[in-house]
Symmetry: D2
Subunit: 263 residues, 4 copies
């Protein structure tokens, strides 16, 4: 957690960071030779120190700084991957202004970033996690394969809900990462909202396609969409009709739809 203090207006950077090393470390495994091993504890200290040296702006940029630091100091390191999760906080409103130093956590959602470097190439990307979305119209599921174990009724008007995880990689790195992230997120949400869905797959693809169409910097996007089923409750035993209004959300069993779209 980094607090930048500009007089009365503070800014928070609340990041969870995972650093992954791959390289010529066989001896540490097979012979217990630690001489090339950078301890987890040192990685942790490095994160704090680099943040203290220069304030973290976009998570992508900080991931890149970390990656370069580690590649520079660790000759056995072939590939480093830094995954960052930024937890959003918004200012507490006081009347019609915002408090400068008091915050409320916003959403289960996190903004993610990824930096993958080897000694020749840097790949950067971003994403969202835990973005719960639901549409209550324009969602069908019909015309699917039937066999002797089919009991699911076809539906032309169901609830479609998911906890979206999306991760995309950029084809270029000279970007305003914050603006680009907002553009992708907005495109994902709008495509989800406006799609005439025939299945989770269908909507997932439409969302990925919309991102590739709208944001030229994105090279590839992976979407993971668990189907958070909302089953209509059978009210007929009570002499009532369920006019598609009362649902019970279920956790298990559930479908999980994944795909990667590459430009």
């Amino acid at each position: 957690m980094q607090v930048s203090r500009r007089v009365d207006r503070h800014d928070l950077r609340d990041l969870t960071i995972a650093i992954r090393f791959e390289g010529e470390y066989d001896e540490s495994y097979s012979a217990g030779d630690n001489s090339a091993v950078l301890p987890t504890d040192t990685m942790k200290n490095t994160v704090y120190a680099l943040a203290a040296r220069q304030c973290v702006e976009d998570p992508e940029e900080f991931g890149l700084r970390l990656s370069r630091h580690f590649l520079d100091r660790n000759p056995r390191l072939r590939r480093v991957r830094v995954d960052l999760r930024a937890h959003p906080w918004v200012r507490i409103p006081i009347g019609d202004r915002e408090h400068g130093q008091a915050f409320v956590r916003h959403g289960p959602e996190a903004r993610t970033a990824r930096v993958m470097c080897n000694r020749r190439r840097v790949r950067m990307g971003a994403g969202v996690r835990n973005l719960l979305i639901l549409k209550s119209s324009h969602s069908a599921f019909a015309g699917y394969l039937r066999d002797e174990y089919t009991t699911l009724p076809e539906t032309h008007d169901r609830l479609l809900a998911t906890t979206l995880t999306a991760a995309w990689m950029y084809g270029e790195n000279d970007l305003d990462f914050h603006i680009t992230w907002r553009a992708v997120r907005r495109t994902l949400l709008e495509a989800f909202a406006e799609h005439d869905s025939r299945s989770v797959q269908h909507t997932l693809y439409a969302m990925g396609q919309a991102v590739l169409d709208a944001v030229s910097a994105v090279d590839a996007i992976r979407l993971v969409m668990p189907n958070k089923h909302h089953l209509p409750v059978d009210l007929t035993p009570f002499g009532l009709e369920n006019r598609n209004e009362i649902f019970v959300p279920t956790e298990e069993p559930h479908g999980l739809i994944e795909a990667t779209l590459v430009r």
Copy 2:
């Protein structure tokens, strides 16, 4: 989950409900006599059916409907308590308008309501859960008791963060529950933001007092505030100074401060 469909504009009510019966049920325990036992499954059906009969507006009102239904039908029931948790969804924005039928989950936060009835009296209340709040100034902790096991340094400028659970009871039930809930929540947030804190206890009390002062309908309020410690990282081994900017959030061990303020 209830979806109210008014032409193109749908509304969601996403509630988790717990119903608690207390009464003359000794025989069911001691003799296995189920003749007065209303099964959980029937309670669940009742929730669905009552929601279907009449659209749920405020959770408080629905809790009251449920409570009355159960008291009317179950002569052995002495006391019923209904706890409701409403999970907030907001509309997905499309350009400068809101989509009528697509939603995104808002916050880890939930709005809660409680209805406690016996055959003579109804008590209603509300609350918030999982409201993560943090202030980065005007928070001290000093002047505390010291003994041979004290190592904590005094601080006059620390991060104060908590996951607020608050639950309040009303002295009257003829309220606009939604407006009142918003007033209490706003008062809690403002009091937290503006308090010159000497401890979590001190701020907790100020928040509770502010609610009793601002919202006359509230009779009593309980606040639970785990101290989500953010420890300043020692950067001196790296030749750096931590100007109160870099913190590591820790989960355990942590303090947990609780109190109930009664008017």
Copy 3:
């Protein structure tokens, strides 16, 4: 985590401890006067130091030592409660012996202990948490109240499963706590296994009664038994009969049965 090292045979004490103070602390809340407040951090240090001074044996005994320490040093403290959770580890077997210094965690289950002291009286107790138990016979649920919202079929042969939490208080404190705990746990399991159950309530009561009958040191016992429903799967659409063999466990909605039996 305490490791006692007796030559080649180590012992682990893996405890999670919660300490609760109640007393004359109004000023700390209302006026921010911390002069009587013992910081959480000092409580934590005290736990470590007292464990280091004298090896922890039974959690009950350590809870008592902590309670007395805090009452002795804190004149404003009226009541202290110490809750301890012991996480079980067993030794890794090597051939037909046990390794002295290598362990595997045993069970989701924890052994709990509670010490409640004021300046005149000590009350001690123990318990189990997260003890998942299931019986596949001698469990019925029938003869319950029926109304227009009843759809549950009566059953004379269902799965009964729960995640047991039990907490009991002793009427005397001069006990071998380990042996007594084992006796209560065994009694709970045997009563659950052998009961001819007409409902969760019925079995809960039988379990509590069995403990009061078998272990004279127990004064009162509280049992909490969520009904972890295992619903029989309808196989008739596939031309198959479910001879009470295939079940789907569900999490929500579920019943939660609680009671306290006092001698």
Copy 4:
């Protein structure tokens, strides 16, 4: 959950199953054409029906039955992967015998199995998840790379604890899966217990190597070992010495060591 009822002695099979399809399903994504899509709901029904038709023995065998069923019926399916997690239950002891129809859940640990099939080849494997293990001797971490951000002291006697996930694939499929699984699990535990560890990597490798040495059916094994740090508590402020006895377990930040050993 399957209950096999042999007179007075029941057996439980408590499995969580994940089925993954890969194949020629592009049209379902890009055009919303569901005609080749087997719904999740049908997969779920298939699991129940196949279990009902023939009692589940080893999870590996059931995974294979499921895989073949799906490949036979779904011409567009190129690859199917079935992952199974078996949750262990043991019988409740009654005096010196075991109850035939009452069970207690054993351990956070699960036994896993994996079946991967395409139209030409079947690959089968198994594993463990959530196996918490700890050694209190013969664990060092020293001689590692040092830089300006190193603060970790070298240690020649630390606690080594992890939540082991291991997954191995077999080179042959005509095995007694239960006996082989037990042999691998025992080998992992013994290697962990007896290793003279210089690092988590070093012990991970020794464990994997021991499996490849001891169980010829295993072709490759992947181990994932988060370093569940137990930090020695500094007792010097209290005039006490920590003779490597008192530790505080921490969750974050932590190291995560992974490797795959291939024969």
